[in-house]
Symmetry: D2
Subunit: 149 residues, 4 copies
């Protein structure tokens, strides 16, 4: 059974263009013998951080004198298959939706062709002075549009 | 703005009966100076594990010769306020819904009266031999009904 | 066989006055079924951080205009017995030696009367401007002398 | 100032033949802005685990009916320079000494030519039935001799 954010697996997978190889560490397993449930969020962070740097989604001046910074509003993981010590995973991230001041990101961890886990996050652009959300400017929206395609 | 799983905050909060005190560790912060986004899932696991033991939600014989084991199907966190090194959090967990073979759990982390983050998880009872879900038996449902109330 | 820094266990143990209770988390175990070897350093950090705050061993003005900050130069752990999920450990830290600009700290984790692991660290006071070590002043030495006794 | 286990840096470094590239993760930093002190032990474990598999230093029959398993007796880290988010480290491990039933391993983390941290560990071969140490057999010693050279 698929999570609600995946309509068609093949289409959904085809949109991922940013991946990093991550080998499961010994300390990332637990006494059940497989990867602990807290670990996918570490992998998501690793690919998200690289991806955001590369996509220009970092702290920046959004309007004259107004600094916008991306803040994680939520994180989500669906566990599909178990992962084990030494598994070589390919962990991908993509932008699934661009809103006025927020972005939905999706994640997938593959072991070969098999989906091990999937996930989502919402990243909001905050005005660093007020702590409130602030809309992306046109330059950001254009840059994000390129990243989404 | 509240996550969709919280209709009314006060009602939602009033249903939590299991809490553990957790002090934020130094190594749980990151270079932004606050608690890293991967950390709430560690806290959720801590309270979930204790709560499930106490609620009898552990690996057990569900039908003669059939062992059922609880498996995490999904984890979710909504970040409401920042947490910092040495914060004394009170982290709660409750059963929000009992299904045929799965349970929705909700989580909250409080710093005094303030909500720092909230979350959800779905736990499915799996047949250990087949790897498929298996319905809770009457004894389990009665026990869960008591826990929910 | 005892590590070289412990001459007599009973004497060594009797000098610990600062302890914190730490319950082993599920995610701190690994596929061997016991606590992963990287975890004692997390416990050492927890007690060291609290202990240093309480002992006034934080960043401070050491000479007029010169800020000294404590920096970890080394960490060490000796594994004596296995620890397991849900073990209730009592983790202690003490100052074992005060040097000109550095302090040796010792650690112990007890499960009841049993020693689970022991450890050491060297903390050096650094001049924040130069990055070189800087001697403790008399006030600091007096304060440390009290802490050691 | 060098740790006592390094007589001459260049000679010591020249003996490392097993390295893995490790990029510092965001969640491995702390509020001081650099890599948390507990993290080098995670890196040491990663290279040690791979190296031990490759060197045949795993659980095995040492005498007829007697299973020997490698157990970590101690871990040590000396912090030389700070590491930061996104640093690309090259982390090496080598066998520094082979004893009757134990091995000393040394570790180094390099950022380009710079040493960021160094470390040591003692691995003891335990008799799985008795929990006591058991001497390496000739085959193991020959295999280790090749690895050391």
């Amino acid at each position: 059974m698929l999570p609600a954010y995946i309509e068609d697996v093949q289409t959904w997978l085809a949109d991922f263009h940013y991946f990093e190889d991550i080998k499961v560490r010994f300390c990332e397993t637990d006494l059940f013998g497989h990867v602990n449930n807290t670990v996918p969020f570490i992998y998501f962070e690793q690919v998200r951080a690289s991806f955001m740097e590369q996509s220009g989604l970092m702290e920046q001046e959004v309007e004259p004198g107004v600094i916008g910074m991306p803040v994680i509003a939520s994180l989500h993981c669906d566990y599909v298959q178990q992962a084990y010590y030494n598994d070589k995973l390919s962990v991908g991230v993509k932008i699934a939706r661009v809103g006025r001041s927020s972005i939905d990101m999706h994640y997938v961890a593959l072991n070969g062709d098999e989906i091990i886990f999937t996930g989502t996050s919402i990243v909001v652009q905050m005005n660093k002075n007020t702590g409130k959300s602030i809309a992306f400017n046109n330059e950001q929206l254009e840059s994000l549009a390129v990243t989404v395609k």
